[in-house]
């Protein structure tokens, strides 16, 4: 009984999506349902915001709470959901009007999965007000179904290549200007026994740049269905180069993933050969540098411009290689009973003030009008923006979250890192991706 009720709510809110075979009697227009509940609630609404992981700093959370109470009168509760529990929590709670977060962040790679099933409220009517075409378009697409906007970008980050100036100097190598030189430079350092590059075997989020740089794609969309594209000649060539990088230059292992790539080039992070190069989002700035204990006995890193540096991953013929854009989307749950409060919160999040605060904390603002602030105030902001200009996203396919959950990309990259035959592996994983990618 409970379930049918939920079903109706979600259905009504899903609006634009045609749902065949549903004979529910409660087919009300979403706007009607929305304004009704707003009218009955009238005024102060206590709402809940879910943030994923701990990327949003405490100060920003406090700002959201205070501002929300000022504008709405109700209280804002913010809960941080670990990335590991994200899918389970969203799957169970979002359809449940009694317990859904009113507004929730969702990883950009998971957006498509939830928007296509109608988990989010249609906010096309707010789109212009919240920034319109100034919003990062790649992310907007990931949160849209056709022209209907469900989840908008929250923040972005782009991946930079971080390096150790002192180790590069010691090995007599220069900052590379082509993708091939990245391999050469690091292989040379490794041959000399000085250092290597931290290339975790499961780290497809960074490794994917080699596919992109060679003109390959993870998957293509023909307007109806998604098809995995790992076995195209471009993608295979990209993986071949990445395999060479792993085999000749990596000091990371096959089972390593990107969770520790943030700090791989700090002193004493690795035993034996240290890492001179690593790839990580631009906010890794705060985790890199000279290590010392602070007053509370915790280890903190202080950036040291003499020892540490960053560059944008170069393309095959110089220029910039497309990197995978990190970041997330944010939307209003279709099952919320506090539509007005949720919309107020969205307005606060997309306000100039909050967007600037994101930028100041090194998180790329969703609204590119504030990107100037970002390049000025954010660490490595100029480089990050340069990288972001050519950044790409994972396929906005309904089944992408399932692929991530099954860790297929991790397995593919790890198998290649182990020295497997790329062409046959690519065919094998194309088949596995195709099984899941269309939901």
């Amino acid at each position: 009984m409970k379930k049918t009720m939920l079903g109706v709510t979600a259905f009504a809110a899903a609006g634009a999506i045609a749902l065949a075979g549903c004979s529910s009697p409660g087919e009300t227009e979403p706007t009607a349902a929305a304004s009704e509940s707003a009218a009955t609630a009238g005024g102060a609404e206590d709402i809940t915001l879910w943030l994923m992981g701990t990327d949003t700093p405490e100060a920003l959370i406090d700002y959201l709470k205070t501002t929300y109470t000022e504008e709405n009168g109700g209280a804002l509760t913010v809960e941080q959901i670990g990335w590991g529990d994200a899918i389970a929590s969203l799957t169970t709670a979002l359809p449940d009007s009694a317990n859904t977060p009113d507004v929730t962040e969702v990883g950009n790679t998971q957006s498509a999965t939830f928007t296509t099933v109608g988990a989010f409220l249609d906010i096309s009517d707010m789109y212009e007000e919240l920034g319109g075409d100034s919003l990062l378009q790649g992310f907007v697409e990931a949160g849209s179904v056709g022209d209907t906007k469900y989840a908008l970008p929250y923040y972005f980050g782009s991946r930079l290549t971080w390096f150790r100036k002192d180790l590069y100097e010691q090995g007599g190598v220069e900052v590379p200007t082509t993708l091939a030189e990245v391999t050469e430079v690091n292989a040379s350092l490794k041959d000399q026994g000085i250092a290597g590059m931290y290339v975790p075997g499961q780290d497809w989020r960074d490794g994917i740049s080699w596919i992109f740089a060679n003109g390959g794609e993870i998957a293509t969309f023909d307007g109806e269905t998604w098809t995995s594209a790992l076995a195209t000649p471009e993608s295979v060539e990209g993986m071949r180069q990445w395999q060479e990088l792993f085999e000749t230059a990596s000091v990371a292992k096959v089972t390593d993933d990107d969770s520790t790539a943030y700090q791989a080039i700090n002193d004493d992070f690795l035993q034996g050969t240290p890492a001179a190069t690593t790839m990580a989002p631009n906010w890794a700035y705060w985790s890199l540098g000279d290590l010392a204990e602070n007053d509370e006995g915790e280890q903190v890193a202080t950036w040291n411009d003499k020892k540490f540096g960053a560059y944008v991953l170069p393309g095959v013929d110089g220029g910039t290689a497309p990197v995978f854009a990190g970041g997330s989307n944010i939307g209003i749950s279709a099952a919320t009973e506090n539509v007005e409060g949720s919309k107020t919160l969205m307005r606060i999040i997309f306000s100039e003030e909050y967007q600037t605060m994101l930028a100041e904390n090194g998180l790329g603002p969703a609204n590119l009008d504030y990107a100037d602030t970002y390049t000025e105030v954010a660490a490595m902001g100029d480089l990050a923006l340069e990288a972001a200009s050519s950044a790409k996203l994972t396929p906005a396919a309904p089944g992408w979250a399932a692929i991530e959950e099954a860790k297929l990309m991790e397995q593919y990259f790890a198998a290649v890192a182990q020295g497997g035959d790329i062409e046959s592996l690519a065919v094998e994983y194309d088949a596995k991706l195709n099984d899941l990618i269309n939901g």
Binding site: S23, T91, A402, A406
Partner: protein, 317 residues
């Protein structure tokens, strides 16, 4: 341990004979059973019906968000049974279960026999050590073992590297699936042996010394004693222990899930528990996951049929 054997017929199991249930037309048994039945229905009733029902329906993420689920008959089952993935995971789980449950039983029985034949102080030391291992909460167990086998600072790699010509520093034990499952098996065996050993030992103390001495006088050898006297008395315990280990090791979830969190992840490293979780919550294929759970239950029943049948037979008396 040189002893003599008595005529087996003269031996009497020291355990008190089980009381024969009474035939009565009284409401009392129903009253007594009601709370347990209510608790079961309250916690499992709806989920169980949901599961059986949805194993015959197309129930995915879209349905979770309100689309009407469609009946698809046996499609979910057919999808699982005709694909290779389910069979692969099932086979892996069965091998894992056989190895782990086997090792646990052998070690447990061995330790129990050892405890029976050593001085009190040594036995108590061993028992305390095993109680400590048994008392470790699973998350703590897994965290500690992960620390022991840590590639960089783990004590295991350090000790192995002390051997001449061996350099294991930096070796990742969770890298290859085989090594991953071996580690999981060792940890689970380590954690399960105490229960088996202490139970079997408790059973061994039931073998009264009079019987043993009588047997010794009759000239029974150590092996004969074991086979003719000890094992028959222990049989009921061993059957149950084996059954429990089989059920637990076949549907192991927590340890594998935690180990995947520490190191490698992906379907290659799945056993049935994590596989079903991944199908359902992970990929949103709740109908298929429900069907997989039903298949696993049927399989477990088939596997433990020897016990269920014995139980029903005993009941029918």
């Amino acid at each position: 341990m040189t002893t003599t054997a008595p005529a087996p017929g003269t031996l009497e199991a020291p355990a008190a004979p089980a009381s024969r249930p009474k035939r009565r037309r009284s409401p009392l048994p129903y009253i007594l059973a009601t709370p347990a039945i209510i608790a079961l229905l309250a916690g499992m009733g709806y989920p169980l019906i949901w599961q059986v029902w949805n194993s015959f329906r197309e129930y995915g993420l879209a349905q979770q968000f309100g689309q009407a689920p469609e009946f698809v008959g046996l499609d979910n089952y057919i999808e699982l049974l005709t694909g290779s993935e389910f069979w692969g995971v099932l086979a892996k789980s069965v091998v894992f279960m056989a190895v782990t449950a086997g090792a646990t039983m052998v070690l447990g029985i061995g330790l129990a026999l050892l405890m029976k034949h050593i001085a009190g102080w040594a036995r108590i030391t061993l028992q305390v050590a095993m109680l400590l291992a048994w008392a470790m909460p699973i998350v703590a167990q897994m965290t500690v073992w992960n620390w022991l086998i840590d590639d960089r600072n783990g004590v295991l790699n350090y000790l192995l590297s002390l051997l001449p010509g061996v350099d294991m520093i930096g070796h990742d034990w969770l890298e290859s699936p085989l090594s991953f499952f071996a580690v999981a098996s060792v940890i689970i065996t380590w954690a399960s042996v105490p229960f088996v050993a202490l139970s079997v030992y408790a059973g061994l103390t039931q073998v009264s010394d009079d019987v043993v001495e009588a047997a010794q006088l009759d000239g029974a050898g150590g092996f004969q004693m074991l086979r003719r006297i000890t094992l028959p008395i222990l049989r009921p315990i061993l059957v149950i222990l084996l059954l429990l280990q089989m059920i637990w090791d076949l549907r192991v979830y927590a340890q594998i899930e935690l180990l995947q969190g520490f190191g490698a992840a992906g379907t290659q490293y799945d056993l049935l528990g994590t596989y079903i979780y991944g199908l359902g919550i992970g990929q949103g294929h709740f109908g298929v996951a429900a069907a997989a759970a039903m298949l696993v239950m049927l399989f477990t029943i088939a596997l433990s049929w020897f016990y269920v049948r014995e139980l029903l037979k005993e009941d029918a008396q």
